[in-house]
Amino acid sequence: MTTPPIPAPSTLRPSAPLGPALRQLTLAESRRLSREPMFLVGTVGFPVLFYALFGLPREGLPLAASQVTLLNLAAFSLVSLSLFSFGANVAAERTGGWLRLMRTSPVPLPVYVAAKVLAAWIYGALSLTLLFTFAGVVGGVWLGTAGLLAALKLLLGMASLVALGLMLGFLIRPAAAVVVANVASLLLVFASGLALPLEMLPAGLARVAPLLPTYHLGVVGRSPLLGSEHEALSWLVLLGYTLLFGMVAAWALRRDEARE
């Protein structure tokens, strides 16, 4: 073999700083997303399609209403990204052994989770940019600074859905995870009024809507346009859901470890 000599392992080993590991893990996650572009169908494709069909300004749909629809569909896009790209994917990494290999590495598991959240934000921002650009170019609907503020709020609120995705990923088998992610995202998107106005839903469903994290994501997302006296409450609900889902995810992760 013509390999250079292997240096002796240093006896005094400082732990590696976590910054480069976090950067590399986020990069790896981003590469996975950009190379398996099917995720774009759910996260960008459907919201764009819905907007093209129902949301573009026309007779009977004034610009202000079209802008609100655009923000609702922006929230829709983040739901799909959180549940599919992160939930279903974590389930696969967990059972395929990748997570196990990560656990044998010196990098603490929270860094692995943090990289997923960072990548979710990067791709969430990208999805919103695509959607807003479509609305501007095709429909002439530009949101301006309100759009930027809405995007930031939506991305922050998205943390609760990423936590939900991680929770499902750590709880459920991969085959089931895809089905559960499908059902959950449909329910979360339709029952909260993000895809269709709440007035179009059955009255019973409309009453349940305020219990859903996506309803509150909608509230904070629309607030730059509509304002909201209840915005603070919605942030509290989103924070509560983030903590709840995060704790269940952590519990499920420990349950996995106990099975080793």
Binding site: M1, T2, T3, P4, P5, I6, P7, A8, P9, S10, R13, P14, S15, A16, P17, P20, A21, R23, Q24, L25, L27, A28, R31, R32, R35, E36, A92, E93, G96, G97, W98, R100, L101, R103, T104, S105, P106, V107, P108, E257, A258, R259, E260
Partner: protein
């Protein structure tokens, strides 16, 4: 000095006992093979050493520390049995990712060379063959320049050339003072490469020692020849443990004392031909040990005192 020490380790999963009061040591600077039939507890033992799980009772020390602490993990290269790598990453990207986990990693190119993956560097992990995936897992285990490699079933799925390259790389690492513990189903590989062999059975250590010592413990040799002896006469020869006599006087036997047996045949002037004498292989030893399932400490199947086996020490 020992790189791994397990003292009185038991591990149960609900009603199933995977390891039962297991004590073993792995010496520094050696290549140790952990052998055992399926379900013997090999993977459980490796999981404990990797810090993936906690023993139900007993203690596990790796490089002098509790392997559940992340500080010691930086000094260990891990190659678990299943490690589905992210299919979207290329080989080079995956190795670069793991290099970022370590303070003083090897060069990415060097790890790829050791694993024999230079010409696959830009291929996506998802498009690798089974053997290439094992080699990538090997590169990921190496990249941190570990003092100890813990490897579960390394060569499964590798073709003959890959296997040979893998053993060469391991030999090179051992030559530089690294310690290696691996499980394998390929006994002839273990026999050739391992300094020391540990045999697990039913969650307990059945035997431990150099491959030569283990062979010697089972003892003797397989002898075959053609002669006009009956089965009863063959069985009466010195040291015969089992024997078969077939067509045309073809005799196959296993003896503890091949030299005395041959002396007896010659001394009694028995005409024989087609003589073949083969030392017991590690596989013979393994099959004998695991078939009887007795610990070498309590019931040695060999009367020969020439090869006392100590528990992995």
């Amino acid at each position: 000095m020992n790189v791994v020490e397990m003292q009185g380790v038991s591990r149960t999963y609900g009603p199933v006992t995977a390891l039962r009061d297991l004590s073993l040591q792995v010496r520094a600077g050696e290549l140790t093979a952990l052998l055992g039939p399926n379900g013997a507890g090999k993977t459980t033992a490796i999981s404990l050493m990797l810090g993936l799980s906690r023993p139900t009772s007993g203690t596990v020390r790796v490089l002098g520390e509790d392997p559940r602490h992340s500080a010691v993990r930086a000094r260990i290269g891990a190659m678990p049995q299943e490690s589905a790598l992210p299919g979207a990453l290329t080989v080079r990207e995956a190795v670069t990712l793991f290099a970022s986990f370590h303070a003083a990693p090897l060069g990415v190119g060097q790890a790829l060379a050791l694993a024999g993956l230079e010409d696959r560097a830009n291929r996506r992990a998802g498009r690798l063959s089974g053997g290439e995936r094992r080699r990538l897992a090997f590169a990921l285990a190496l990249i941190g320049n570990p003092e100890l490699l813990l490897i579960d079933e390394p060569t499964t799925g590798m073709d003959a050339a890959s296997r040979q390259a893998f053993w060469e790389a391991l030999g090179e690492l051992r030559g530089q003072g690294r310690s290696v513990l691996l499980t394998t189903h390929y006994l002839e590989e273990a026999e050739r490469a391992a300094d020391r062999v540990l045999v697990l059975h039913g969650g307990q250590l059945l035997a431990g020692g150099t491959p030569e010592a283990l062979r010697a413990q089972v003892g003797g040799a397989r002898v075959s020849f053609r002669a006009g002896l009956t089965l009863a006469e063959v069985r009466a020869l010195p040291g015969v443990r089992s024997a078969q006599v077939g067509e045309g006087g073809h005799t196959e036997l296993h003896t503890d004392t091949p030299e005395r047996l041959l002396a007896e045949l010659v001394g009694r002037d028995v005409p024989f031909r087609d003589l073949e004498v083969r030392r017991a292989t590690l596989e013979d030893a393994f099959l004998t040990l695991t078939a009887t399932g007795h610990s070498s400490q309590t019931a040695s199947p060999s009367p020969s005192p020439a090869s006392p086996l100590s528990q992995g020490a």
